[in-house]
């Protein structure tokens, strides 16, 4: 691929080599929270219609509090939608997280009482995978995430970035077909973020998994994604899906290309008004208190 192609929500031209099958499908999904202490209910999300294509890297950007994390909860099966349906690999998600879905959260979710190695093996042991296979997969994930020298360390001995790698490795060993990431690098410094972004791309390329990343960093979304969904202020809806058209074999050097800036400014143009609205919502809520 050469130039970045910007497309509206209308079906984009298929990418070379990328499968077009739908991996996860949301139809008419909304999420409404009951109000606190008799207050009005909060319409957090939707209605949302969205397809995640098999093997794509999809990012979601949007103003603070627009329901990005709620979208992830609903898509992963952690929270049921108030209305609408969520399907993963053709089966409706009901009640629990389906097999084949892995989630990485923004907060440090490593288990402080387990060594790095045991953290990574956690899911495999719980599924009853045999010891030899567990060892093989854990070794691979530790090597892949650059954690081999730290396998016997405990999370408290690692930096925030390393702990996030542990969480990614723990997800990776389960060989998920859909990986959902909720601002996984949000707490990291800028340099670490860029490097982690490259690793995420490598992981995505080598595993062939479908990835949905939630982020507030526009350049991060731009760099990593095939498509970027721009969400409105609450209740969050997709106001545009931006197609980047980057090569599958991309890395952070992409940021030097002129088309890169064009995509980021496009995202910001769409997002600016929504962010202002979200700020207004925040101010209103503050005033109502």
């Amino acid at each position: 691929m050469s130039a970045a192609a910007l497309a509206e929500v209308a079906p984009p031209p298929p990418q070379a080599g990328a499968a077009e099958a739908v991996h996860a499908r949301l139809r008419g999904v909304t999420r409404v929270y009951p109000g606190r202490a008799g207050g009005p209910e909060v319409h957090a999300l939707g209605p949302i219609d969205m397809d995640l294509r098999q093997g794509e890297f999809f990012s979601v950007v949007g103003p603070s509090g627009c329901g990005k994390s709620t979208l992830l909860d609903v898509l992963s099966g952690l929270a049921p939608p108030t209305e609408g349906s969520v399907e993963f690999e053709g089966a409706r998600i009901a009640g629990q997280v389906p097999d084949g879905v892995g989630v990485v959260f923004q907060e440090d979710a490593s288990f402080p009482w387990l060594s790095v190695e045991d953290n990574v093996a956690f899911g495999l042991r719980r599924e009853g995978v045999d010891a030899a296979e567990t060892r093989r997969r854990v070794d691979f994930a530790l090597g892949f995430m650059g954690l081999r020298d730290f396998r016997r360390a405990y999370p408290s001995q690692l930096s925030g970035g390393m702990r996030q790698r542990v969480c990614i490795a723990r997800t990776l060993v389960m060989q998920p077909r859909l990986i959902l990431l909720d601002e996984p690098f949000g707490a990291l410094d800028q340099q670490t973020r860029l490097l982690m972004g490259d690793e995420l791309l490598r992981l995505w390329r080598e595993t062939g998994a479908t990835v949905m990343l939630i982020t507030h960093a526009l350049d991060e979304a731009n760099l990593l994604s095939d498509r970027i969904g721009v969400m409105s202020a609450r209740p969050g809806r997709f106001i545009e899906i931006v197609e980047t058209g980057w090569d599958r074999a991309r890395d952070s050097s992409l940021a030097e290309r002129p088309e890169f800036g064009a995509v980021t400014s496009r995202l910001w143009t769409r997002l600016r008004g929504e962010s202002l609205r979200a700020l207004g919502q925040g101010a209103q809520a503050e005033a109502a208190r």
């Binding site: 952690l78 097999d99 892995g102 440090d108 288990f111």
Partner: protein, 249 residues
């Protein structure tokens, strides 16, 4: 040895030596306190006496039963209360003010209810110890980061595995401090109860020696109880330290 440990040892050894000198020179009469060396000899004698071991066994058994009920029951109750917020709100004032009650005052009542065996003692010690465990369990579970519970759900853990493999280890530092209290309170409950009204047990033996002006035996038994409780607590403490160190706390 760290400077703090050296200082601690010096202070302790100095206090024991001062007491020894005061007793030997007659500054403290033996009717009040006997010399530490005499206590030690008395303790060795007691340890050689099969009758002592019978009383020791009776006390340790009661403590073990009370402690187990307090720890298991306290954890389960604490867990249940965190799961049922209205119930928790209803009972929390009682729990908060629980330790202002002089529990020992209820011992006669417990004897009326449970009779003159070991049962009232065990109930007394359990009542005394369990609430510390309930409070610590709730404090620990309240502080389990929500992201760990979400991680458990991502791994599709059943409620039981979630408690056992995620919530319990995550809350362990708090729960362990409750456990230490529960251990101490169980000892206090049982031995204090034996003091007041019992025909056997270390507490009874101490009271019996006291009543008969047998200071040598009384202090020897107190020394043994101290050694027992300290050893037990140090074991839990070492375990706790290892765990906290691992977590960088």
């Amino acid at each position: 040895m760290s400077p703090a440990a050296i200082l601690r040892t010096v202070v302790l050894a100095g206090a024991v030596a001062a007491l020894e000198i005061a007793c030997r020179t007659g500054a403290i009469p033996p009717t009040m306190v006997v010399a530490p060396s005499t206590m030690l000899v008395g303790a060795v004698e007691a340890l050689d006496d099969p009758e002592f071991w019978r009383h020791f066994g009776v006390t340790v058994e009661a403590v073990a039963i009370a402690m187990s009920i307090a720890i298991v029951g306290g954890f389960c109750t604490g867990f249940m209360l965190t799961r049922i917020p209205p119930l928790r709100r209803a009972v929390s004032p009682f729990l908060a003010s629980y330790y202002s009650i002089p529990h020992l005052a209820f011992y006669p009542l417990l004897i009326v209810i449970f009779g003159l065996g070991r049962a009232p003692l065990i109930v007394l010690a359990t009542l005394f110890a369990m609430v510390a465990m309930i409070l610590a369990t709730m404090a620990g579970l309240d502080r389990v980061p929500p992201v760990l519970a979400r991680t458990a759900r991502i791994h599709r853990l059943s409620l039981l595995s979630e408690i056992w493999q995620v919530r319990l280890p995550a809350a362990a530092p708090h729960i362990l401090s409750g456990l230490k209290l529960a251990v101490a309170y169980s000892f206090i409950g049982v031995i204090a109860g034996e003091f007041i009204m019992s025909t056997e047990g270390i507490g009874h033996e101490i009271a019996y020696a006291y009543d008969n002006f047998n200071n040598r035996r009384m202090y020897a038994l107190i020394l043994i109880v101290l050694a027992l409780v300290t050893t037990f607590n140090m074991t839990v403490f070492a375990w706790e330290r290892r765990m906290l160190k691992r977590r960088g706390l």
